[in-house]
Symmetry: C2
Subunit: 427 residues, 2 copies
């Protein structure tokens, strides 16, 4: 069932800089693993079922490396605020509603419905501080077919009305209960420790999370250096830190290459912070739509890539206004062009190829061999119908691919495969 | 037939800074003119037909102040290039095809089909240097219901293979023929003189266009200060000019308050250039999507507004990848936030209200009293169905409006009125 061939116009990154395309090519899946893309189907696969998507684009599934599920239903509202005001006026009051399980059930159903139909085959997700609601979200996610990490959020300070845990102890206890409840419960949905960010977590809580991560080999996700006011605040809160990343390091929450931490944003990460991220094998979730909306700034992604730091793309709903990864690819390119033009002309803009790489293999590598059609990779694939976008001449597969990212609203997902399983289909 | 009332959730700018909203309000149209928006329908309009769009948003029609019709079918391709390379590699070869009338007919049918279904009720459009194709475009535009200015492009130098007029004289002769052919031909479609930009037009041609504009009271549109290489080139081409805008001024093509010139971009317009734009009552067409795509930079729109210069928004297809004005509103906000954050923190970002204003009344004023529901304005209105964007709580009309601009793909245009005429309807 998980061994078959799909036929169509295939595109994927061979390297960070180069996209390989195969017009009318064959993509082979054996037991959920990609066995390569071919112009001519090799003899050994000739007895496999061929699913014909001729004329449609076939691209790797995408990884949304940073998205807040409970914020989904208020995206695109209050966008003239900066981070800390936006959190206090919009986000925290909304997240407080998730203490009500019925509310959470309904709200998360909107999120999971759309995620299933999105370009993402993998996602790393923030829930809220509510255990029941987080388990509900994970239950729903398991049914989407998307493979995800999900975090029950830790926050024992500065959360505002009805969105603050009583103490570090309570926060850690609840985290333990949550981990017990979800242990072994899912095939596709995994827990990830999620201290919201330093301003939301006391030293004691951060230390507890660092310890828990080590003991149980659990990954961590959080936010880093998003906004100037936030960065200044962290320096006050952890005065002994040499930088924001070092504050996480002090609490032993920066992870390592085998158990990598994801840090969203990194807009203000300088050389010192880059060294720390690199040393720990951390992932940067680049969220340029969010960073523009909240007037945060632009992260120098090329610098990170050149330094050998892992980078992927996050939509960061609801500071990003959409879960659409094609839009996120475009935003990352535009942001990098403005960084080049307005900040530093020694930092070249991201090419289309590079941004596409970040959305596929860049973030996908957080899940293993994911996000490419190279042999041995897990078979995450999207069949995209771009026929609505007429042209006056024949376009190359590469041109069609670029065009879909610049006009995402005109692309239709026909099939979505995750690890070789057809998780979504649209006529 | 052009006198009626529409009912729904009304939103429009009362001032540049403030959006007035009326939930379940009444918007009155008498003979194509807006007679105001009311919470309770005034007695004098009670015998007019009421069209009920309860629960849907009603907003002013939008003005796309700068868009290239012949570039529509290759949008979203070659976007990693900067302006001059992009023109030479993609735009000029494509525009050369419009010497073939059958080609133009087909290609323009894609443009006009989508324009009719877009958020724009008014548009100012570049065609190509081909007279027959330009008349074809205008014929098609007349049937869309959209009110537009359309320019046959003048370019007698630096156009490349098959896209350059023989001489200034030929260019002006052809312009004269074109003007004769379209004179009195349309109710909604008007000619505008369109020297492509200084690098494409010899001094003699520019002078001829300036003269023609004065003699026949014809408006002019062109490009100004888009890209650093272009700005430097213009300085070489017109060495006696004090700045790029002054080069246009020297040739008498900057217009006046009664016959205003539109200048697209103005990314690099400094105080001197702003003085010239202001003095002539010119309009700036702000094209932030394009300016990000071609790595041009960000125009300091607040400075222009504060100086009292007219500003509207252009989608600038195909350097902008879409004709969607809601997307353009969002892009303008994001660009202004990055200008504030990365360039000059004394230039505050555009608020949502201000960007919405630019897309409606800001650009609309180029057409007269257009782009608002204030009494006496021409009745250009859109009925927008935003019901696909669920929410967990009741949203204000203002919140729904912001959300539609941040998630344009989820909004459906149900009705489009231009001067009181229902030009488009979707079930």
């Amino acid at each position: 069932m998980k061994s078959f061939v799909i036929k169509g116009d295939i595109a994927f990154n061979e390297t960070r800089e180069k996209i390989k395309t195969l017009e009318n090519g064959y993509l082979v899946c054996v037991n959920g693993i990609c066995k390569g893309a071919y112009k001519k189907l090799p003899e050994e696969y000739k007895n496999l079922e061929i699913r014909d998507f001729s004329g449609q684009l076939i691209v790797p599934g995408m990884t949304d490396l940073h998205v807040h599920a409970p914020q989904y239903t208020f995206r695109g509202i209050g966008m003239d605020l900066e981070l800390l005001d936006w959190l206090n006026q919009h986000t925290f009051p909304e997240e407080a509603n998730y203490s009500n399980l019925e509310y959470a059930k309904k709200a998360y159903s909107y999120f999971t419905y759309d995620l299933k139909r999105s370009f993402s085959t993998r996602a790393v997700i923030f829930a809220t501080m509510h255990t029941d609601a987080t388990v509900e979200l994970m239950d729903q996610l398991e049914d989407t077919g998307v493979i995800s990490y999900v975090g029950r959020v830790n926050m024992d300070r500065n959360g505002g009305v009805n969105l603050e845990e009583e103490s570090a102890e309570v926060s850690l206890q609840e985290t333990g209960k949550w981990l017990d409840r979800v242990k072994g419960r899912y095939a596709r949905t995994f827990p990830i420790l999620t201290p919201r960010f330093i301003p939301s977590c006391s030293d004691e809580l951060m230390q507890g999370i660092g310890k828990l991560s080590k003991e149980q080999n659990l990954r961590i996700q959080s936010h880093l250096s998003e906004n100037p006011s936030e960065v200044a605040w962290v320096k006050e809160l952890v005065p002994q830190s040499t930088c924001y990343a070092n504050a996480y390091e002090i609490f032993d929450t920066m992870g390592n290459e085998n158990c990598p931490t994801i840090m969203a944003h990194c807009v203000y990460s300088d050389e010192k912070e880059m060294d720390i991220l690199k040393k720990h094998g951390a992932y940067i979730a680049h969220c340029s739509d969010s960073n523009m909306n909240l007037t945060s700034g632009i992260a120098p992604i090329r610098k990170f890539m050149d330094a050998g730091i892992h980078v992927g793309i996050g939509t960061d709903v609801a500071a990003g206004s959409s879960m659409n990864m094609l839009k996120a690819i475009l935003n990352a390119i535009q942001a990098s062009k403005m960084y080049y033009r307005l900040v530093d002309q020694s930092v070249k803009p991201l090419t289309f190829e590079e941004s596409f790489y970040l959305a596929t293999e860049g973030g996908g590598s957080y899940f293993g061999q994911v996000g490419s059609f190279k042999e041995g990779y897990e078979f995450d694939a999207l069949v995209l119908d771009d026929s609505k976008m007429y042209s006056m001449r024949d376009l190359t597969v590469r041109e069609r691919l670029e065009r879909t990212c610049y006009n995402d609203a005109d692309v239709v997902i026909r099939e979505k495969y995750v690890q070789g399983e057809n998780t979504f289909h649209r006529e």
